[in-house]
Subunit: 342 residues, 2 copies
């Protein structure tokens, strides 16, 4: 098979990586030296937000159901979603790939194309990486985002009693999409176009980078991306902020087709929306008087912003059903729970 | 077993990670927000050098012969070695761990202790990470170093015809150490204290961060760390700089005990020193008039700096034996060659 250096050269080409040319990025690039040396060199200016994400075949995805292009897409999108949750502008990415014997050159380039599509859409420069043989497919992604100063970045711990709790976009789609991908049953219950959109939601999520920056600029006091599930992620904000969060489940916006898939799974839409995770929408808290402005700014980024609850005195998350009952926030524990259904 | 959040908390504690307290690092810290949020936040000031390294059990190490403490040590040390090769001052690290079922909590904390020991020795702050179940042990490390400006960082492409080629420290120890670890034969040929030092060289390499900064400050025109082997790494400098490099193998400094191990392997010391790799010493090119000053600066960092060759008109690397014959630079191709001997 192709050796390391030849394959790295081809991957670099697909990823649009400048091999060591200073100033080879966009006009606004902070990149002084791209891939191909011992380290990449950047001149960040203000503050940086850095997040790392590890994706492992058999744990986070299965190749039987996720095309390699989608695996690459989702890996970078999920990493960028953490920058969105800080309100950072996306900057650079570093991609470490572990390739098993049965991913050939064409497969690894398909993976790179998936990464490159997301990078290109969001103006991210891939400026470094590492490549290794591996027993199974492994992607470790590092992303760096930027802001004028550290104070411009929104943390999890700033929610105050009285703040409204909002989410961008619609929830439940990723969980419903996973069910459509992994099981034969629910397909018949859903409109085909909606089913396609749900599968795309699972396989090719969109990091809400513009919405995150809009929320940061309009006064979000705390923010997190919905990767583990609404209940679990709201719990992280509540704990970091030292407040309780009350969420009205009837207000949670649900993607079209989720209710039909949920019914076929003998559950309800709100269960998929509240516990499913991987929608990569943003949950933010805001002073009530900033809600209208924030909603307009998020709408300019092409998304709805929906008020779903309030920060209250206390601790933890209460998710209230329309009938007044409550649901336990369920989440996601990488070491305990999360296995593909194979 | 322990869940993700509990284990992350324990790993953070071992790694000395501040969970979200601004200004919790050293006085000189650029860290505004440590681990525990969607991203870590830093305020870099000048230029940053960033490198990523992926280590996979069965490809880069075997647990049968490398204790988990050493695996952690080597993972961070190898990553920092890339910063040393830029002349960057070490700053922050991000650690992504994939843990298989048979690495229990005690094992994962031993691994973290190995990482923490290197971080502590070099003033590196571990400020983020990710944790996942995995089929085999995986470590993906991101390191960030700093310099006043991008021009202060030394690239591979700056060697000029007439420059001297130098290496820090002594070579061959890591290859000899690997032979001692993986095979029964050579042990009897070597002094026990030397054998211990050779094994440590393989299992717990030292990133040459102070020497790298000293070389950058005293006029190094190009620099690389010796991870793939002298021949291969010199080849990267030659190619990036558009020069040839002539290396006198008789001048290459060899660690004590390497000759004896080489003899037991029916090869010679220079073969292990020139082709073995993983010594993580630095190769630098310098204008001849800067050699003395650079040597003094590297000596102040506790290492010898040895002139081993010259940059010449042409391309590629010629390694000359004392008898006038030449050896082919051999190197290391992660996808083709590098398998543990098991």
């Amino acid at each position: 098979m192709t050796g390391e250096f030849e394959l790295i050269a081809k991957l670099r080409e697909r990823l649009g990586v400048a091999a060591g040319d200073p100033g080879s990025g966009s006009n606004a690039s902070r990149v002084a030296l791209g891939s191909g040396d011992d380290a990449a060199v950047t001149v960040p200016g203000g503050a940086t937000a850095t997040s790392v994400d590890l994706l492992i075949e058999g744990v986070h995805f299965r190749r039987a159901t996720a095309p390699l292009h989608a695996v690459g897409h989702k890996a970078l999108a999920a990493a960028l979603s953490d920058l969105a949750a800080m309100g950072a502008a996306p900057g650079e990415a570093y991609v470490q790939l572990g390739l098993p014997e049965d991913v050939d050159e064409a497969g690894s380039l398909e993976l790179a194309d998936g990464i490159a599509a997301v990078a290109s859409e969001h103006g991210v420069e891939v400026i470094g990486g590492d490549l290794s043989r591996a027993p199974t497919l492994i992607l470790a992604i590092t992303v760096v985002g930027h802001a004028g100063s550290a104070a411009d970045l929104v943390r999890r711990g700033g929610a105050r009693v009285g703040d409204v709790v909002c989410v961008t976009g619609e929830l439940g789609g990723a969980a419903a999409g996973l069910a459509l991908i992994e099981r034969a049953g629910p397909e018949a219950a859903v409109d085909p176009a909606q089913a396609d959109a749900l599968r795309r939601r699972q396989l090719e999520p969109q990091p809400r980078l513009e919405a995150g920056q809009a929320l940061a600029a309009t006064g979000a006091t705390a923010m997190i991306d919905l990767s583990d599930g609404l209940g679990a992620d709201a719990g992280h904000v509540a704990a970091a902020s030292g407040v309780g969060l009350e969420i009205a489940l009837a207000r949670v916006p649900v993607q079209a087709g989720v209710a039909e898939v949920a019914a076929a799974l003998e559950t309800d839409a709100i269960e998929l929306a509240a516990s499913g995770g991987e929608d990569y929408e943003l949950l933010a808290t805001l002073p009530p008087e900033r809600l209208e402005l924030a909603g307009e700014a998020v709408a300019a980024a092409g998304l709805a912003l929906t008020e779903i609850g309030r920060a209250v005195t206390g601790a933890g998350v209460v998710m209230r059903d329309p009938d007044g009952g409550t649901r336990k926030p369920s989440g996601f524990d990488q070491l305990r729970d999360h296995r593909p259904s194979s």
